[in-house]
Each structure stands twice: as structure tokens, then as C-alpha cells.
């Protein structure tokens, strides 16, 4: 496979031609904020946090789905990008009811981490305070829609890795929401194998193990990587 050379934030980087800008940047030790991206499942390009600037390209490009090209000059941390990222995180906090102090994922939450990474100190937008449900009908797990950022990581992990396709998204726009099976309570979703992958995949405290109390829900993403590597490469390392 051909190798491409490019610069990311003025640092010379080489990458395989089938790698994304995000993968190349990570290998070079350059961090780009992400949320919907999850190693092991297909990339969506939906959260728009990983947008980068590329010299000569008028549009911003999502690093998680844009392949590297020879001679590309990528900028991941411009003033403009920092401002947009902050706005995106603020929009997420305003959109649903994220009350970190009482959340099972407090301290282990990717949304919280992002807020810190982008330097969010307050939310400029009006909180929407939607009335949303908490579904604890499953014997092992629960889903609290108040904390969902609609990243669809649960949808992809359940479909692509577990093969159950319990989750899907219903509704449009701000009314979009995660549903199990044909919009039945999770506990009645017969396709669910109770494997727990979506718990690990969920970036926030939206999907959690029942019984976890405040700040107890630590997610282990490496399990997902382990399974994918084992399945695709027949290598049991992790």
C-alpha cells in the first residue's frame, strides 16, 4: 500500500493511503477532539468536532472520514476551529439535561472531557430542558435519554460488533432519539443479547450498568478494540 506524506500542524507525517487524517494525527501524537468516532466501528462524521482546515480547500473537513493525500497541509488547532468546537460542545450541553453532579459517569465522561479540552467555561445558549425518559426495564442496564448526545455509537457497536442491531434512531432534528427494537422498552427488546457493548461504547452516562451510582460508571473502550482485532486479524491481544 502506498504511503503518503503530509504535514499536520506543520509537522511532517507519513501515513498509509487508506488512513484518515485522524488516524495519521493520532499516530503522530497530535490530538484532535472527537465524539462520534469510535475505533472498531464505521465512522459517521456526525459530531463535527474533528473538523480540520486543509490548505487550498475552502470547506472544513472531518478528520475522521477524510483520507490523507500526498502533500496535504492540515491544521487541526486554529483559532477558528477552537471557537467552533467550543460552540458545538456548548450546544450539546444546552440540548439535553446534563446534570453531571448526579451522573453515574461523572469524572469518566467524554462530554465532560471535551468541555475541558475546548475550554468551555459557560454555555452561551439557552438550555432546552426537554422532558426525556429514563428506561430501566432491562435486567442489567439502563438508558437515560437526558444524557444522550446522539452520537450513534451504541447503534453501530450493537449492529457492527455484536450483530444484534437492537438500537436505532427515530425521529428527526431535535426530536431524534435512540430506540430499542421497534420502539419498545429495552427490557422487551428481544434482539438484545445483554452483551454490554453499548454500555462500553456510550461516551456519556446515557447507557449505564444498573446499580452503578454517581461517578461509578467507568467505560472500558479497549474491550471493543480487543474484539474487533480478534475477529478481523485473529490476534488475541489487548
Amino acid at each position: 500500500m502506498a504511503v503518503k506524506t503530509l504535514t499536520i500542524d506543520d509537522k511532517p507525517v507519513s501515513a498509509r493511503e487508506d488512513q484518515t487524517i485522524l488516524e495519521a494525527a493520532r499516530e503522530a501524537g497530535i490530538g484532535i477532539p472527537t465524539l462520534c468516532q469510535l475505533s472498531g466501528v464505521a465512522n459517521l462524521g456526525a459530531c463535527r468536532l474533528c473538523l480540520v482546515e486543509v490548505a487550498g480547500v475552502p470547506k472544513l473537513l472531518p478528520a475522521c472520514v477524510t483520507l490523507v493525500q500526498e502533500g496535504m497541509q492540515v491544521f487541526t488547532n486554529t483559532e477558528r476551529l477552537r471557537e467552533y468546537r467550543k460552540m458545538i460542545v456548548e450546544l450539546l450541553f444546552a440540548e439535553r439535561n446534563h446534570v453531571c453532579a448526579v451522573c453515574v459517569a461523572n469524572g469518566h465522561c467524554e462530554l465532560q472531557n471535551l468541555a475541558i479540552a475546548v475550554g468551555m467555561d459557560h454555555v452561551r445558549y439557552s438550555y432546552r430542558f426537554p422532558k426525556l425518559e429514563v428506561d430501566t426495564t432491562h435486567e442489567k442496564f439502563g438508558i437515560d435519554h437526558n444524557r444522550c448526545v446522539l452520537c450513534a455509537r451504541c447503534v453501530r457497536v450493537c449492529d457492527e460488533i455484536e450483530g444484534a442491531h437492537t438500537w436505532d434512531i427515530a425521529g428527526r432534528g431535535a426530536k431524534s432519539h435512540i430506540i430499542s427494537d421497534m420502539n419498545v422498552p429495552w427490557g422487551s427488546a428481544t434482539s438484545c443479547t445483554s452483551c454490554g457493548k453499548c454500555v462500553q461504547a456510550c461516551p456519556t452516562g446515557a447507557i449505564f450498568k444498573l446499580g452503578a451510582t454517581v461517578a461509578e460508571q467507568i467505560k472500558d473502550r479497549t474491550r471493543l478494540d480487543f474484539i474487533v482485532t480478534a475477529r478481523e486479524k485473529k490476534q488475541w491481544v489487548g
Binding site: 459517521l44 463535527r48 472544513l60 458545538i88 440540548e95 428527526r172 432534528g173 431535535a174
Partner: protein, 540 residues
């Protein structure tokens, strides 16, 4: 089936035509005003007067001037009647024998008609859209026959490239280039998709073309398919267009029966099947990647491009996706040549554009004008300005993705680049005229609400950003706005535009940005007034 068969059908059809034809509009606009009953009444009146062997009543597609419909035209050289009711029918028929007619006579020489240059609409309102013979009688399907029998696929792509045809679905991408990309890609299968989703509020160009001249669109698709090497096509029509769907179905069945579609088109080795897929009315399903997902039976949400549909389209195969109007231009280009088409319009925008005139305007309806026609000509001369002597304030083009153009800029020619320069877009052709009574904050808010409701919810900027923009506009409109809100509004608009995944989010801020650009004072007025509401009412 070959050229001589087509000519024979045409001859028969023309020979069977009775000396006098009464064209009666049976497109959706006129049908909604009792058009069907009118046609029946005309038929009965012809029989009652004993004129059945001399006069035929033909149900045709849209004649354009929908606001004066139902329309009835007497051929040859007879008058045009407007706002005809079934009760007028006996009098109209009696007038054929020289009696005075009581129905209202329209003036076919008004600029609304005289300034039009019909290419896409050349058959609309003239032929019977439910009879393939009627289309063949005006030369229909001869271009396809010529293409599949006499031309090489890449020659067809070149012809379209040389004509300068650009996509009429909004973005104006060169059609020939799109076709050539797919034609040059090696793939087991390829597809052609006709985008008839037409979700812009106020737009009805594509519906009218499908209702009035469905074979033209099928012919354009078949030519595209031959050019790129596809053997399957889909027309994606919104479910709200039942008449268009039924006429398309009829047309497909008729074309198959004659060997014009299906296996061995015009007895060549080229096969082309067309199926209809019906959309459920989500605006975002008009976006090409969402539309293709919807055809595949999945949830209609856009995905990042590249890869573009020309590289990875339906089920991963190279796919040409074109708008109804784009495809409807194709048979005419084949018939008359690339130079002919390129001679119409401006340097970068060739041919004509169909617009749906709506809003505060005397003549609402469909018009087709050369690219580069000044807005003034369209709105004031052809549209007849605001009814009852009001004053035109602005025109909104491009629907929820477009912007408002103030009357002071009406000398602007309509072409892709000029409209973009003014902060609007050509869009698919909706043109909504606003008068002095219309408030621009309300206009912006209306379109923002539309985008907010129609956002698919996949990406954060569009899903959550439109909600916040709408909220700020509402606050301002209700007199609760503060001066600093305008800054937040502008920042949000910029961010949603720059960071959204698909065209819906990327263009959703346009109505706000363009009204802020030209009508900032109307926003300010709501903010500085103690109560914006009271102020607005005082203004009204």
C-alpha cells in the same frame, strides 16, 4: 420500434386529431379548482352541440398561469379563457358556432406568456400527458432513438458538456461532467436516479413537469443511462404528488409496451428499466446521499461526501443523480444540438430556468425564462407586481437554503453566480415575492423553523444550532431581544454554515444572513423598541 415506427405513430396521431382542439388544464393547480368537472362539462357540451366529429377536448398539463386557472385554450388560434367554471362550458362550446361567450377571456400576449422561452415546458399544456402517442406526435423519443442507435456513450456525455447544462436541483454542477465521471468508471452495475423530491416550500416546478410531460423526463433518464452505461433507473418522487406518480406509472407502462424502455431499447442491446420510489415527505431526502439511502430502504440521512454518488452511489455502485428539470432539458439538447442550447442564457449559466412565482404577486404560476433574465422582468413585468398596487419589497429565491433579494437589486440577472453574490442561491426555482407589509424577521424565522423541523438530526451544528437560532429569532420577534443577541445570532449562523454535514445545515442560515445583510434595521427595530410586538403592529 425504430425511427420510422415513431414517425408512423406521430402521423397517425396527428391525422386523428380533430380540426378543433380545446385544451383544458388537468394539472394539480387547476384540478384543485374543479378542473376535472370542467373537462367533463366541456365534453358534454361538445356532444350536446353535436360537434363531436369536429371538436375534441384534451386534458393537458400545466399552462403556467395557475392563479387564473382553470385555463382553457381553443386551438387553433382561438381565445384563452381564465377562471373557467363547469357552468361556463356550454357557453364556450356555443361560441365555437359564433355565439358570444360569457367566460372570461385572458390575454395571451401579456409579458407573463410572451417573455417565456419554453424548453423544459415546451409540451406542457399542449400534449396529453397520459398518452405516449401525444408525446411521440410532437417528436418525442426521436432523440433517444437517435442516441442509442447512432451515438457512442461518450459522445453523448460530450454533447451535454458542450451544451453547458448545469444541474437544476440547486447546486448547478455541470451535468456532462457528472455523466462522464460515471461513464468512465468501470463497474458491474450503475444507476440513474431522477430526483423528484422537491421539498422546498413554494416550489412546484418539478411536479408540474412530471404531471404535464412525464415522458420527457423518462427520455432524459434513458439518454443519461445510455451515456453512463446504466440499466436501471429510479424516480424518487415525494408521496405528496399522487398525480405525478400516477402519470409517471402510466408513462413507464406505455413506454415499456412500445419497447422504448425495458429490454432492448429501440431494438438495440441497451436495456433500461425504470422504477418509482416514493418518498415520505422529509425535506432532507432530497439531498442526494440521503435520497439514495432512502431508496436502499434505510433511514434517509446524509453522509459525508466524498465519496460522491458518481463514485459510490446506490448500493455502492456509481450513480448519476439529476433533478427532474435537468433531465427534462436533455431530449431538447439532443434534438437541437449543444450550440443551440449554449446560445441561450449567459456565459456561465446556459439555457433556461423554470421558476414558480408565488407570494404577493399578481400572476402566480410557472414561468420559463432564459438564464440571465433580470429579476425586474420576472417579478414586475411577467409577474405583474404586487396585486392592488402594493410595492414589491424583496424576492426570496432558493427556499430555505436561499436568501432575500431586495427590490433595489432587481436589475440583477438570474444566473447561478449573480444570485450567489447577493447571498442567495438559484435553488430549484421557487420565487416568493414579498411586499412592504412583510417583515423580514418573520421571513427569516419562518425558514429557520422549517430547517429546524426538517433537520435530520445527525450532526450537532444543524440539529442543535438551528434550534438556538430559531430561539433567538423568536426572542427578538417577541420584543425580548437584546443588542448582543445579534452577535450571538451571527456567530451561530456562521458556525452552522461552516460546520454542518450536508447542504441542509450548510445553507440553513442563509435566510437569516441575507435579511441581516439588507434589513438589519428591522431586527434593530424589534430590539430597541420597548415591545417589539407593539412596534410591529404599529407598522402593519
Amino acid at each position: 420500434m425504430d425511427l420510422s415506427d415513431l414517425q408512423e405513430i406521430a402521423q397517425k396521431e396527428n391525422a386523428a386529431a380533430k380540426p378543433m382542439r380545446i385544451r383544458c388544464c388537468t394539472a394539480a393547480g387547476c384540478l384543485s379548482q374543479d378542473g376535472q368537472a370542467l373537462k367533463k362539462a366541456l365534453d358534454e357540451a361538445v356532444a350536446a352541440e353535436g360537434l363531436s366529429d369536429k371538436v375534441e377536448v384534451v386534458g393537458v398539463g400545466c399552462m403556467g398561469l395557475c392563479s387564473q386557472g382553470p385555463l382553457v385554450q381553443i386551438d387553433p388560434d382561438g381565445p384563452l379563457y381564465e377562471k373557467v367554471t363547469p357552468a361556463d362550458a356550454p357557453s364556450i362550446i356555443a361560441s365555437l358556432k359564433g355565439e358570444k361567450c360569457k367566460a372570461r377571456v385572458g390575454d395571451p400576449t401579456i409579458p407573463f406568456f410572451s417573455k417565456q422561452v419554453p424548453i423544459v415546458l415546451e409540451n406542457s399544456g399542449r400534449i396529453n400527458p397520459e398518452r405516449i402517442e401525444s408525446y411521440i406526435a410532437v417528436g418525442g423519443y426521436q432523440p433517444l432513438c437517435h442516441v442509442v442507435r447512432e451515438m457512442q456513450p461518450l459522445e453523448v456525455c460530450d454533447l451535454i458538456t458542450n451544451s453547458g447544462l448545469r444541474g437544476r436541483g440547486g447546486a448547478g454542477y455541470p451535468t456532462g461532467l457528472k455523466w462522464a465521471t460515471v461513464a468512465k468508471t468501470d463497474a458491474e452495475r450503475k444507476f440513474v436516479v431522477c430526483n423528484a423530491d422537491e421539498g422546498d416550500p413554494g416550489a412546484f416546478m418539478d411536479r408540474s413537469v412530471l404531471e404535464s410531460d412525464p415522458h420527457r423526463v423518462l427520455e432524459g433518464m434513458a439518454i443519461a443511462a445510455y451515456a453512463v452505461g446504466a440499466s436501471q433507473g429510479y424516480v424518487y418522487v415525494r408521496g405528496e404528488y399522487p398525480l405525478a406518480i400516477s402519470r409517471l406509472k402510466t408513462a413507464i407502462a406505455q413506454a415499456r409496451r412500445l419497447g422504448i424502455l425495458g429490454t432492448g431499447v429501440f431494438e438495440t442491446r441497451f436495456d433500461f428499466r425504470v422504477d418509482i420510489r416514493i418518498g415520505a415527505g422529509a425535506f432532507v431526502c432530497g439531498e442526494e446521499t440521503a435520497l439514495m439511502r432512502s431508496i436502499e430502504g434505510q433511514r434517509g440521512t446524509p453522509r459525508p461526501r466524498p465519496p460522491f454518488p458518481a463514485a459510490r452511489g446506490l448500493w455502492g455502485y456509481p450513480t448519476v443523480i439529476n433533478n427532474v428539470e435537468t433531465l427534462a432539458n436533455v431530449p431538447a439538447i439532443v434534438r437541437n444540438g449543444a450550440e443551440w442550447f449554449a446560445s441561450i442564457g449567459t456565459e456561465k449559466s446556459k439555457g433556461t430556468k423554470v421558476f414558480a412565482l408565488a407570494g404577493k404577486i399578481t400572476n402566480t404560476g410557472l414561468i420559463e425564462v432564459p438564464m440571465g433574465t433580470p429579476l425586474k422582468t420576472i417579478v414586475e413585468e411577467m409577474g405583474g407586481g404586487v396585486p392592488d398596487g402594493g410595492k414589491v419589497k424583496a424576492v426570496q429565491t432558493g427556499g430555505p437554503s436561499g436568501g432575500c433579494i431586495p427590490a433595489e437589486r432587481f436589475d440583477t440577472p438570474v444566473d447561478y453566480e449573480s444570485l450567489a453574490q447577493l447571498g442567495s442561491i438559484m435553488g430549484s426555482g421557487g420565487m416568493i415575492v414579498m411586499d412592504e407589509k412583510d417583515n423580514m424577521v418573520d421571513v427569516a424565522r419562518f425558514f429557520m423553523e422549517f430547517c429546524m423541523d426538517e433537520s435530520c438530526g445527525k450532526c450537532v451544528p444543524c440539529r442543535a444550532g438551528t434550534v438556538q437560532i430559531y430561539e433567538i429569532l423568536t426572542k427578538i420577534r417577541e420584543g425580548r431581544g437584546k443588542p448582543e443577541d445579534l452577535e450571538v445570532l451571527r456567530e451561530l449562523c456562521d458556525m452552522v454554515k461552516q460546520t454542518s454535514l450536508c447542504g441542509l445545515g450548510q445553507s440553513a442560515p442563509n435566510p437569516v444572513l441575507s435579511t441581516l445583510r439588507y434589513y438589519r434595521h428591522e431586527y434593530d427595530a424589534f430590539i430597541t423598541a420597548k415591545s417589539g410586538k407593539a412596534e410591529a403592529e404599529a407598522n402593519a
